[in-house]
């Protein structure tokens, strides 16, 4: 969103159109940028700005339509225009959008002719380049100061896996630049690991290949495959078939996106209560649950080990990139409550004083 945020008021389009889930982080970020543009005042402005943001999504669940919450509530408050489509209509309209990254589906007309910009789901397009380059630079600089040349695995929870891919590419470029510099120290051993939270390994690979081809040009697929970040497996090879988690008889696999799971909830509570780390329940907690499956074998490593994409956090330092989304915790906890996995006391309701509950 940095590229969008950097646009001047003259450059900023009259309307931005995007699509995706009703609680998308990307949706809220775009709504915030558009609202910021509208509220920003310039000396030359004679009429109030009215930049628009139109967002296509599938039919909302009844509870969300009756009482918008989380990111949806915030985005609507910021002036986002929501367009609900029936599932088949959504698929028909936007399946072509998945084929081409930067262009709108041909059957979708621009809301403002000539000045509407299409942003694909999750902001996964070349728009994200500037922000991810900045993020990669920050990580490299941080580790050059604090890493003491130890190997580092940078872990991203992945939806479209856009951030992970672009940061990975930016880090590669940075390392090449360091190699070309004369009298420079060798580049830092920093690798990117993406933890699939939507779909499985194949889906994540497909998403990244697709994005890579569109953002970095139509070179050979093989070349793109070589430059993808490592994808964390659902479990280490030795435990993948048997399953090691409590009450788990089935083989360990990735989680279904948004589906309430006991293990995800346990991880969420453990991180919050024992380590004071609050993550969201859609990306953060599932990602950490998958990480913890690899944690046991990793924690026994006494010395640093060379990079192995199949065991990407073994014998390496871990840097987890927190992706936010904490606003959606309560709406997700409600789903856990419907499955009788949490009590009402754990959910924060507006206007309820937590202190009164303790008494």
């Amino acid at each position: 969103m940095l590229s969008l945020h950097c646009l001047d008021s003259e450059q900023f389009p009259s309307c931005i159109v995007s699509y995706g889930g009703p609680q998308s982080n990307s949706m809220l970020a775009i709504a915030a940028v558009v609202h910021y543009q509208n509220s920003r005042e310039s000396p030359g402005d004679t009429v109030p700005r009215c930049k628009r943001f139109v967002y296509y999504t599938k039919k909302l669940p009844r509870f969300l339509r009756n009482q918008p919450s989380g990111n949806l509530f915030r985005a609507l408050s910021l002036g986002m225009e929501l367009v609900e489509l029936a599932n088949d209509e959504y698929q028909n309209l936007l399946s072509s959008a998945e084929r081409s990254v930067d262009t709108a589906p041909p059957q979708l007309p621009p809301p403002v002719y000539g000045d509407s910009v299409w942003i694909p789901q999750g902001g996964a397009c070349s728009m994200a380049l500037r922000g991810t380059e900045g993020l990669a630079e920050e990580i490299y600089e941080f580790w050059s100061c604090h890493g003491a040349h130890q190997p580092l695995s940078v872990c991203f929870p992945g939806g479209t896996c856009c951030t992970a891919l672009l940061v990975h590419r930016a880090l590669q470029r940075r390392k090449r630049r360091v190699l070309l510099e004369k009298n420079a120290t060798p580049p830092l051993d920093i690798e990117v690991v993406v933890i699939p939270c939507v779909g499985d390994e194949a889906y994540a690979r497909r998403q990244m290949l697709h994005l890579s081809q569109h953002v970095f040009g139509t070179t050979a697929v093989r070349e793109h495959e070589d430059s993808l970040p490592a994808i964390l497996k659902p479990a280490p090879e030795d435990t993948q078939r048997t399953g090691t988690e409590s009450n788990s008889a089935r083989p360990l696999d990735y989680f279904r996106f948004g589906e309430p799971e006991v293990h995800i909830l346990e991880t969420f509570r453990e991180l919050r209560d024992e380590y004071d780390v609050v993550v969201d329940l859609l990306y953060g907690a599932p990602a950490w649950t998958l990480l913890f499956r690899h944690w046991t074998s990793s924690s026994t490593s006494a010395s640093w080990t060379p990079w192995d994409p199949d065991a990407p956090i073994d014998g390496r330092r871990v840097l987890y990139v927190h992706s936010g989304g904490l606003e959606g915790i309560n709406s997700q906890l409600l789903r856990y409550k419907y499955k009788k996995l949490v009590d009402m006391e754990e959910i924060q309701w507006p206007g309820r004083n937590p202190a009164s509950l303790d008494e």
């Binding site: 950097c6 621009p110 380590y275 924690s299």
Partner: protein
């Protein structure tokens, strides 16, 4: 003669006033009551129509109520100091409906409130991918922004292992 004529046609009186005066006063009271009643009815009608979702009114009244609801579009003194019923997101009235019909553009995307059906995008003519603006995201911005402050990194020991957490969820300076 005249006096006798007066005596002949003496005007009946009541409490020292001629009877016709009383009749006029009674008539005046009745008409005042009628006028007050009509005024109350008029105010009630206007109030109820201003706050109803859709008003079905005869054409002359529509124009009257257009001035009533939208004082800024009317030169009539009638409209002065009458608040807009639709400000602050009140329900849509007939006047707004008319304006929407008049001002609706083919390019307007539907703004959806969550409770309503939102399929009116079907009325938008399909124009293909033409008309979309393509952005050059690689181009330098016209106004160069200061590089944002890096997001902080927390250090936490999780399950006996040192972990760095890049707080990219936090607002950068």
């Amino acid at each position: 003669m005249i006096c006798s004529r007066y005596q002949l046609y003496e005007i009946p009186t009541k409490n020292g006033l001629p009877n016709w005066c009383w009749r006029v006063r009674e008539l005046g009271a009745t008409s005042s009551f009628i006028w007050i009643f009509l005024l109350v009815m008029e105010i009630t009608m206007r109030w109820s129509s201003a706050y109803s979702s859709v008003r079905f009114l005869p054409t002359p009244q529509v124009s009257l109520y257009r001035r009533w609801i939208h004082p800024e579009r009317s030169s009539s003194p009638l409209a002065v100091a009458v608040p807009r019923s639709t400000a602050c997101g009140a329900s849509k009235n007939f006047d707004d409906f008319l304006n929407e019909v008049i001002q609706s553009k083919a390019t307007a995307a539907p703004s959806v409130d969550n409770g309503n059906n939102n399929r009116n995008h079907d009325s938008i003519p399909r124009s293909g991918s033409a008309g979309w603006r393509s952005m050059d995201w690689h181009a330098e911005p016209m106004h160069e922004m200061q590089p944002p402050t890096p997001s902080p990194v927390d250090t936490v020991v999780i399950r006996d292992r040192l972990v760095y957490i890049k707080r990219d969820d936090q607002v950068r300076g």
